[in-house]
Amino acid sequence: MVTLQFTRHLFAFFPHLAEGQVQVQATTVAQALAALEALAPGIDFYLRDERGRVRHHVQIFIGNERIRDRRGQTDPLQPGDTVWILQALSGG
């Protein structure tokens, strides 16, 4: 299992994610995102565009490392990893 952690900004749209630790079975980040969509329908289109690319101002980390494959999220996951889904410090 891997643990997913979120920027609290996402809780405004998906409040039930704030209720407890979110853990999914996944060996890549793409699988983790697919599993997340099953838990929070609609969230995938917040994080990725319709071609499956991570949105420009969304950042995903595995532990302290930013993922490399923003196009396909093939970055591998190990059991016990924590995936951080954050927003870039951009905006106005």
Binding site: Y46, D49, G92
Partner: protein, 391 residues
């Protein structure tokens, strides 16, 4: 029935209603989120808001309880697999004569902006987007699909789902996208009240386009329009219509504020007549609104264009015609006449039963209850205002 103004701003949706003789605004949802357009589907009563989350992409939001609660629409607008378009991106090229070049490429389409929503009977909902896709619903918005007839139009290079098309597009871009791309955008959708299979859309930058068969085939409706900023002024394509609006009860009357002047049609957009009057400041601007009953009556908020794109000489006014654009009057009473540099976007002017309202990117919202003769200030400190519609 009490009038409600729906106001979309860069930081949320506001409702404005008259209570105890005073027009009062309140935040009605989407706090902190960009709201490009808010409107009511008159056929179902549902409220629609077109959102541009800075980080999370564009989303359709709906309310069935007068804005008490909002939720994401069950099906979001997404470009289907295989949807591509011919993009023209300017880039720095030191070796070119003017230091820039144009790179033409075929791009996979993804939603960059939800810009306008229009409604028709029988569950018809149309959403205009950047990069130039028109999405349509026939079930009240439960599902949407890309209109392929317009997307694959020969003027855009043909069908890129199945091949590379002609490799040439006559549609150019708009800087209004939220992703920074210079891609085309559909900002106007007019569903003919006489026949819902007849729809006009307007595109920055291509012009006005019409279907009469429910969206299967489309043709340009740019006859009579002229681009004084282009080498071939009367070309079929390339017109920068900023906004079009149709008279509800005299629907053959259609108004257009264009980058290159003001145009009016009283023959169903088969031909356009230039009706601007630069001496009255009537030439450049973004919005236009037409009276629902008398198609000769229209209002504009002119700007100095296109080199400035702000209120003319720091004095804000609305221009009104009552004779199909033959003559214009400047309406200034109650509007600021010193150091007022407001810009009013294309969706941010509306009229209903003699009440006119407009909002600016400087966060000012003005309203007239006497067809524009005099104005009151609803507020001066709204976020930048993107749209003003009567519910």
């Amino acid at each position: 029935m009490q009038k409600t103004l729906l106001v979309g701003t860069r930081k949320g949706t506001f409702f404005v209603q008259k209570h105890d003789g005073v027009w009062q605004a309140r935040l009605a949802g989407h706090a902190g989120v960009g709201v490009n357009f808010v409107a009511r589907d008159p056929y179902t009563g549902r409220l629609w808001a077109l959102l541009g989350h800075g980080h999370w992409g564009a989303k359709l939001s709906i309310s069935d309880d007068e804005g008490a609660t909002w939720q994401d629409a069950p099906q979001q607008i997404k470009y289907p697999e295989g949807a591509r378009y011919i993009a023209q991106d300017m880039y720095e090229d030191e070796s070119a004569d003017y230091g820039v070049g144009w790179k033409v490429s075929t791009k996979a389409a993804t939603l960059q902006k939800l810009w306008v929503v229009g409604f028709g009977p029988g569950g018809r909902v149309y959403v205009g987007t950047i990069p130039g896709g028109l999405f349509e619903s026939r079930d009240g918005g439960a599902t949407f699909s890309l209109n392929r007839g317009l997307w694959n139009h020969p003027s855009r290079g043909g069908d890129l789902f199945t091949g590379d098309g002609t490799g040439e597009t006559k549609w150019f871009g708009t800087p209004a996208s939220e992703g920074g791309d210079f891609a085309p955008g559909i900002h106007s959708v007019v569903v003919d009240p006489r026949d819902p299979d007849r729809v006009l859309v307007a595109v920055s930058t291509a012009g006005v386009i019409e279907t009469t068969d429910g969206g299967q085939t489309w043709r340009s409706r740019n006859q009579g329009m002229a681009m004084d900023h282009m080498p071939e002024a009367e070309a079929e394509w390339g017109h920068d219509a900023h906004y079009i609006e149709q008279c509800q009860h005299q629907p053959q009357h259609i108004w257009q504020q264009n980058h290159a002047g003001v145009f009016y049609s009283d023959d169903d957009a088969q031909s356009w007549t230039r009706v601007d009057d630069p001496d009255q400041g009537v030439y450049f601007g973004f919005p236009v609104t037409v009276d629902a009953h008398d198609g000769r009556v229209a209002w504009l908020v002119p700007a100095r264009g296109d080199n400035q794109r702000m209120a003319i000489d720091g004095g804000l006014f609305v221009a009104r015609t009552e004779d199909g654009g033959k003559t214009w009057r400047q309406l200034r009473q109650g509007l600021p006449q010193g150091n007022a540099w407001d810009v009013v976007y294309r969706h941010a002017l509306a009229n209903q039963d003699g009440v006119i309202a407009f909002g600016s990117t400087t966060g000012n919202l003005y309203l007239s209850e006497d067809r524009g003769e005099s104005w009151i200030t609803v507020g001066n400190n709204f976020p930048p205002i993107y749209s003003v519609r009567f519910a």
